[in-house]
Amino acid sequence: MEYVYAAMILHSVDKDINENNVKKIVEAAGIDADEARIKALIAALDDVDISEAIETAAVATAPAAPVAA
């Protein structure tokens, strides 16, 4: 999931989600970035609006994710 999380970080801080940025984050975690996986991620994200996807997920998961115990 590290590649997906990396994309989520970039989205959170409002940075461009491109191969280079994802790669930098993954490498900062101390692992070798797998270019093929990054490319696949970027390609898939091409048509996806992350904010919208999060919102859809948030609605669907609402009861499951009560933020305070």
Partner: protein
């Protein structure tokens, strides 16, 4: 049959004809059966079966006489008690049993009778205005009170357990509540069919169980068909769905990103984030404001 009166000979002859011309012979006991029940039974058997009352010894004579045609038929004899009657039909024994069971009707509980099942007073409005009946209900242990101007039973209450005797007071109360917990009707004590005597315990059919068996059969076949990937018209869609779901499970769990999974993976990341946020939400400063909402 030297000393047998002519009318008796006639009757035995008639019984023998009926015995020979029907595939199923049942024995019922009509002792203490109310006239209304007799009517109901005749109505439900109309066109399907013939019922004939006769003295036990005459029936026995007839049975003995045809025993060579219908092997084992004298086995019905011990089941002829009370005021026996013979039912002649071509329905199978189980269906005959069911028709008779279905023609049974609810009846009020009499004082001293034994409950054949738990007798329940259901929750709800009794229709009675407030008055002494409330005390009567409470006296026999029924949780009742006044609600919206009516005497109301607060929750379902078992007033007589299965096998227990119905007291006079309870019987009166049940009658006033119009609860008829008893069942009256004609019991098929035994039936003869194809050289076999079926007793009532065997003839009892559990329809609920049959329904469950059919569903279990279908579910089992469905499961087998889908799990072993045996495509049938009834299951091919489920097989495809299953293939899709399994492939998607793999893709999402292994974080394989493609157009079909990216939305799910974003959702998964988000859900995990919230789960962790939830676990640490009590620690000040650990989360940004957005996550604290």
């Amino acid at each position: 049959m030297a000393h047998v009166a002519n009318w008796k000979k006639e009757e035995v002859k008639e019984l023998k004809e009926l015995l020979n011309s029907h595939s199923v012979i049942g024995v019922v006991d009509l002792l203490n059966i109310p006239a209304r029940q007799m009517q109901l039974m005749r109505k439900s058997l109309q066109g399907k079966a013939i019922i004939r009352m006769a003295k036990k010894n005459l029936i026995d004579l007839a049975l003995n006489d045809i025993a060579q045609n219908k092997e084992n038929i004298t086995g019905l004899s011990p089941f002829m008690i009370g005021q026996p009657a013979i039912v002649f039909t071509d329905l199978n024994s189980f269906k005959l049993y069911k028709i008779l069971e279905d023609s049974k009707t609810p009846a009020p509980a009499k004082a001293g009778s034994i409950a054949t099942a738990d007798i329940v007073v259901p929750a709800g409005d009794t229709g009675f205005e407030p008055g002494p009946f409330l005390g009567e209900l409470q006296q026999v242990g029924i949780p009742a009170k006044i609600d919206k101007g009516k005497i109301t039973v607060q929750k379902d209450h078992v007033i007589v357990k299965e096998g227990e005797e119905v007291s006079k007071q309870v019987a009166t109360t049940l009658t006033r509540l119009d609860i008829n917990p008893m069942e009256v009707g004609i019991n098929l004590r035994a039936a003869y069919e194809e050289e076999t005597i079926y007793t009532s315990d065997i003839l009892f059919i559990d329809e609920e169980k049959t329904l469950q068996n059919i569903q279990a059969a279908f579910n089992g076949a469905f499961n087998l068909s889908v799990n072993a990937a045996i495509p049938t018209n009834a299951t091919v869609s489920a097989i495809l769905s299953n293939a899709f779901i399994k492939a998607r499970n793999l893709a999402v769990n292994a974080a394989i990103v493609n157009d079909d999974t990216i939305g799910l993976l974003i959702g998964k990341a988000r859900t995990e984030l919230l789960a962790i946020a939830s676990a640490i939400s009590g620690v000040e400063g650990a989360l940004d404001d957005e996550l604290l909402d």
